[in-house]
Each structure stands twice: as structure tokens, then as C-alpha cells.
Symmetry: C2
Subunit: 437 residues, 2 copies
């Protein structure tokens, strides 16, 4: 295997966006992506809900997401490459108490240029067919379901197509000269002394050591000047053995696809008018357990999930095989459906036709992503379930750190300056994100 | 098994100090400590180097350690209970570049009341028998060993006896009415809905859930109003399965006991005069790899170790059995001894007579400890190798959080106020520690 200047491990959205920006800004360098699966975006990126929003509580997340969304819009509208951007909007349904708690966040969103629009209870009842804003049933009381008193709508939010978006980066990366090795997983980082002596047991503690590439699952070595670990939920499996914390804690997250056909009130809901040019319901978040409803008009269905934080394990080293993480029919039945039917009774008795699971890769410190270098190494991750919508910005940050070091000032899309060290641990300076879905 | 108000998992220094302060300040409450081993301080506390210092770069660490050291001194001098406090001092040997980099830290230490004294190269050569300040050999050049240009001495630093210190807390805790269950390990945290309905599968996502105690390895349950997880390197094993990050990353650390007998120049070094009332060498840190030398006059030996950061794995879930973590003779030979013999040639060819290993429990975010509550739970840890010297302060913080919640203002020993939320993650506000040994 020949040597490379840069080796990127992982072709999820963050890995392939990083590879693209690295190759584009260092056209003379040889860049290789190593991916365990057969194409880009096939693991957790492809299993994700693939929503985008700029309505975060953290101004850092607002900046990272806004810029990436602008870039994706540019790709679709200016370059003419469809990446599935569909600005259906986010509608946060809130109780009185939730809105009070959010007012500070909303003020700061507006100050930072994030567009939001408020809905009254009455407007919500008119606009969302079947919405039960007042919770009076025995089940509602048992579950402590709050009344819906307000709506907060984010128009610069919506859904995208992760397979198209990662496909765009793949093609652009390859066109710029980059290479991708599919169906090969990186088993281990190679750690070597910078100045090899040739004694057994190197590197010793008194040697300066560096990452020199990876060992693949088939035993071959790929050597590189810089190795970028962008393996998402699996970051720790590569970095922990060499003594660098990968800082990723994975949790299983589930999605349930519920058909809208056959139940007229579900069809009315799916195609609720007045919110967006697509003529569909926005992405709706209920005021309990972060339960969300995504309209998917092409397949005439909703994708439904929730925050799923109750007693759900964290994993530092999740299994490589995502097929082992199964969606649970009982979870829809006993957890999701119970809440859903109270706010939108047309879902009563309606069951999912498909379901799947993937992994969120949390940074449990502040729910914000990280980018940091070590010798010969850049680690990126921790996007805590919102990697798709920040992928372009994280890719530009990885590239900036590669070219200018830990304190690089990256230029995000739209000439937005952002200092990479803010997302490091040694010099971390980001606002915690409180709205994780 | 009867119910308890408070259950503390782990009787290392942090667990037993927490139990003591909890019981002392809530005399009417029933407090139980569950410990896997047969007595207090038998795992990593007992395997540690058991040094204490207030010379940290983080003002938070300075405060936490200074107050705890004052308390340990009070126990020994005022209460008349020997905990082995021996203020031999810390001597940091520094190169010109290291001192320059440290000047800012030193200024802030002095401003925060930390006493330090500077030594010139000449003073060091006179005071430390055999010290080779100028590095000119081929081996030195190969290892890039810097010259020793300065010494920084911390007099409010020294060694203590962890078995005596944890024994003091054990006895005082039991005398105050606390109970300890030895030789029983907590296998799992019990997570339950606050309001149980009686349906299979609780807690559901719409229920408010809480930690209600632990399941022991023998299958019995111990129920408690509040469970304190103070399991050090093993925190994640308890908290991760319920979806709370234990935030501990463990690394093996080794100590090598080298006899001073038979080599006159080693005896001279062990009993170097002029530094402290004990008439021994201080704890000396060489300017390479954090290599340290601890004089142990009772057994006429030195304990030697180093930072050991090169290619040393992090573990999120280390084995329970510390006997599996072996010290490595080759590590002394190829890593430690190579450096040691260049600065102190009397160690040339001298080998350790005993060696052992334990686990540091790092908080890789900022090398600072954490204390945070969840419902029915308090998690404490991440002391990053300096838990013994901060144990009393962490115990008081756990107690303050128990009594007054996440934003409690603890009163550390000496009436030093310290807000507990500074050590949480949700409201973290601590300075990173840069001097981890």
C-alpha cells in the first residue's frame, strides 16, 4: 500500500466532508478515505433522521449549522446538484413553562440572526389538523403531558437526503483527485517514534511519538502524514488504545415509519398547508420527551422518534455491526404511541410499517462537537445527533487544523470565521447545547 | 436488606471521605458504604504514590488540595491521629524553557497563597547529591534530555499514608453511626420510575425516573434515597448502562521500588539534608517525562514512576481485578532507568526490588474532578491521579450536593467556600490542570 499525505478514517458525513475540503485546499496532496462499508454515508449518517436546523441554543451550534445549511443550499441551488434540501421548517410545540424557559435562548437566536416565528395555541389548532392542545384524559394525566400553549417555528430548517449529500462530497472529492478504499476497516492506529532508533519496544516514554497511519483489518498498513479519525460512534475504538480519548459516547436511537395512507386525518396532517412551499406539515416536536414527527411525502409516511434518554445505555465501544442495534416494537407501543395518540388522536391504533436503529455519538460534556489534533492525528466527532447539519462546517475545521494547526481560524461557508481551538479540549470555548433531539 | 438514606459505592479515599462528611452532617440518616474489597483504600488509593501538593496550575485544584491538606494536618496535629503526613516538599527540576512556560502558573500560585521557593542550578547541585544538571552524554542527546536550570520547591507538599488516612475516615464514619459492607460489589444501579404504575417495562420514556439503589453481585438489592457512585476507575461500569456518562477514563500507572541500600551515593541522596524536617530528599520531578523520585526512608528505598503517556491505552471499563494490571520490568529498564541514570548516575545499573500497578482515573476534559447529581444519584470522580490529596474536599462537595442540590455552596475545611456546580458538567466552571504527574 502506497503512502498518503492524509488518511481519513470513516466516510460518514463528517469524514467525507473533511476529505473533500482537505483535498480541495491541498490539491497537491494525496488524500485517502478508508471506509468499512461499501459506499459513503451507509452507517449512522444513512440511518439518521437527516433533518437540518439552525435553531440551537448554543450560538456555536447556530453558527456551525447555519453556515453548513447555506452551503448545502448553494450546492443544490447554485451548483444544481440535488441534495434533497427541503425547508419544511421545525415547529416546536411548547407548554407555557417550556416557552418561559426558552425565552432567553430565543432572544439570543434572534440576536444571532436565526429566524423564528411564534404561533399561538389558536393558530396551531387551526394549522395542525387534529392537534389536541389541551390534555385532559386519564392517560395524559398519568404521563404528565403538558398543554400546548405556544409554537415556535424555524423556517431555515428542514430535511435533506443524506445519501445525496454524502454522494455529492464523494464525487467532488474523487474529482479533485481523492481516493476512497471501501469495504476496509481501520483496525488500529500506528504509533511510532518521530525519530526511529531501531530498538524493540519503540516508542519509549522519552521519545516523541506520532500517529503514522492505520493498520487495516486485513493486516495491511496504510501510512500517512496525518490521519483523521472521523469514525463517529467508533472513535474511541481507534484512539483509546493509543491513549487519546476519542470522547464519543454512543446511544442507540430508533426511528419508526408510520404510514399515512388509509387514515384520512393522517393524510390531512401529512399535507397540512400554510407552513412551507412543499405543502406539508413541518417537522413537529411535541412538548413531551422530545417526541418528533417528520413528514415524508414521497413515501406517504411519518418518521417518528423521541429523545429516548430514560435508562438508555451509553457505550464507549459499540459493536461495529449496526444490525445488532434493533428497533424495538414495544418502544413504539409503550413509550412513543402513548404520548403521540394524546396530542394527535388520529395516530391512535396506527402502527409503524418499518423501523430501524442507529447510533448517536454524543459528546457528553456539552453536546457540542470537537476537533483536536495530536501529533500526526486529527480527531473529529461528538456531534451528538446533529452531524449531518454541521458536517460541512466540521469538514472545513478539520481542513483548517490540518493546514494551520490547533489554533487555526477556519473560514466556514459564507466567509464566516470560526476558530478551531474553540472545539478542542485543551482550549475549549463553546456554549453547551441544550436542545438535543 | 434494609433501606438506607444514602448508599456510597466505593471505599477508596473519595468514597469514604464522602461517607464520613455525609454521616457527620446528617446524623439522623442511615448511611451505608458498599466496598468490593475487604477494607477501605485497598484498590487504587492503596496502590497510589500517596503524595500531596498544593502546587497545581489550576486555581481550583490549588483550593481543593490546600483545604484537604489543611484538614489532614488538623487530623494529625490537633486530633492526634497519625495519617502519615510528612511535608518533605516537592522539587520540580526544570529546564530554562520549562520555567519560562511555567512563570505564568507560578505567579498565579503565589497570588493564590501557594508557597514556592526557587533554586538555582548551583543550589540544586549542592543540595541534591550526584545531580547531573548538564546533559552531555550520547544517551542524553538521543533522548533529548534538557539541562536542569532551575528548581521550584513547594514546601506545603509531601507524602501521606493512604491506609492510615482512609482508616481515619472509616473509624470516624462508623463512630458517627455509618455502616460498611465489605467484600460486596455493586453490580448495577437500580433505575425506577418515581411513581410506579405496575406495568411491565417501567420506566417508560414519559415517566420521571430515578436511581433507587444498587443490585449487588450476589443478586440482593440495596435500596437508598440517594446513591453516591465513588467507584473511581470503575464509575462508567455503573453509570453508563443507565445512560449517565461516568466520565472516567482509566490508565495503568506503575511504581517501581528501588532499594537505596548498598550504594552509598543512593543513601546520600535518600537522606539529602536541608529540605525538610524529615531530613530526606524531597519528592523530585525530573525535567523529562514527569519522571519522579519519592524517598521512603522507613524502607530505605525510592519509589519511582513517570507520566507514562506514550501509547498507553485508556480504558472506559477496566477489569475489576487490579491483579491483571501488571507492572512491567522492561518499562523500568528501557523507559525510566534510561532517563534516571543520566540525571542521577548513582542509579545506573540499580534495579527495582518490587513493582506494582494501579489505575489513574482521568477526566480527560480538563484533568479536574467532577461532582454532579442526577435524580437519586451523585457521581464523583475524575481526580486524575490526585484524588488522595483532594479527597476531603471532594467528600465535602458530595455532602453539600446531597444536602443543598446541584448549586450548593460547600464549605471546605478552613471555611473555604466552593460552589459545587463548578465541578458539574452542566455548569462547569473550573480551570484545566496542566501539571498532572
Amino acid at each position: 500500500m502506497q503512502d498518503f499525505d492524509i488518511l481519513v478514517v470513516g466516510a460518514g458525513i463528517v469524514g467525507i466532508a473533511s476529505a473533500y475540503h482537505l483535498q480541495r485546499n491541498s490539491p497537491g496532496k494525496k488524500v485517502l478515505v478508508v471506509e468499512r462499508l461499501g459506499d459513503v454515508g451507509q452507517a449512522n449518517t444513512g440511518r439518521s433522521n437527516a433533518m437540518f436546523r439552525n435553531t440551537f441554543t448554543s450560538v456555536d451550534n447556530q453558527t456551525l449549522a447555519s453556515s453548513a445549511i447555506d452551503f448545502y443550499m448553494h450546492v443544490q441551488n447554485d451548483l444544481g446538484i440535488d441534495v434533497g434540501m427541503d425547508s419544511i421548517g421545525y415547529m416546536w410545540l411548547m407548554s407555557e413553562a417550556q416557552l418561559s424557559a426558552a425565552e432567553g435562548h430565543i432572544r439570543r437566536m434572534v440576536a444571532n440572526g436565526v429566524e423564528v416565528k411564534r404561533y399561538s395555541e389558536e393558530e396551531l389548532r387551526r394549522a395542525i389538523p387534529g392537534l389536541e392542545t389541551r390534555q385532559r384524559s386519564d392517560d395524559s394525566r398519568l404521563m404528565s403531558l403538558p398543554d400546548v400553549a405556544h409554537g415556535l417555528f424555524g423556517p431555515k430548517c428542514g430535511r435533506l437526503a443524506p445519501e445525496k449529500l454524502t454522494g455529492f462530497y464523494r464525487d467532488a472529492f474523487v474529482e479533485a483527485g481523492g481516493k476512497i478504499l471501501f469495504n476496509q476497516s481501520a483496525r488500529k492506529l500506528l504509533v511510532e517514534p518521530r525519530d526511529r532508533i531501531g530498538i524493540d519496544g519503540e516508542p519509549f516514554v522519552w521519545q516523541r511519538s506520532r500517529v503514522a497511519g492505520v493498520e487495516l483489518a486485513d493486516g495491511k498498513e496504510v501510512r500517512a502524514g496525518t490521519t483523521v479519525v472521523a469514525a463517529g460512534a467508533w472513535n474511541n475504538k481507534l484512539t483509546d488504545p493509543m491513549g487519546t480519548d476519542g470522547h464519543a459516547k454512543a446511544k442507540k436511537r430508533q426511528l419508526f415509519a408510520v404510514p399515512a395512507g388509509g387514515v384520512p386525518l393522517l393524510g390531512d396532517l401529512l399535507f397540512a398547508k400554510g407552513f412551507n412551499p412543499s405543502g406539508t406539515l413541518p417537522f413537529v416536536i411535541l412538548p413531551k420527551s422530545g417526541l418528533f414527527i417528520k413528514p415524508v411525502k414521497e413515501s406517504n409516511e411519518f418518521w417518528i422518534g423521541c429523545e429516548d434518554e430514560v435508562n438508555r445505555p451509553y457505550m464507549s465501544y459499540p459493536d461495529d455491526d449496526l444490525e445488532k442495534f434493533l428497533a424495538e416494537p414495544a418502544y413504539y407501543e409503550n413509550d412513543i404511541h402513548q404520548i403521540l395518540k394524546e396530542y394527535l388522536p388520529q395516530f391512535a391504533g396506527v402502527r409503524p410499517s418499518r423501523m430501524w436503529a442507529g447510533l448517536y455519538s454524543y459528546n457528553t460534556l456539552d453536546n457540542m462537537p470537537y476537533v483536536f489534533p495530536e501529533e500526526g492525528l486529527i480527531v473529529v466527532g461528538g456531534d451528538s445527533g446533529s452531524g449531518v447539519m454541521k458536517g460541512d462546517s466540521l469538514g472545513r475545521l478539520v481542513d483548517a487544523v490540518y493546514r494551520d494547526g490547533w489554533d487555526a481560524e477556519a473560514s466556514l461557508y459564507g466567509d464566516v470565521p470560526y476558530r478551531a481551538s474553540k472545539l478542542s479540549f485543551a482550549h475549549r470555548d463553546v456554549e453547551r447545547e441544550d436542545w438535543v433531539l
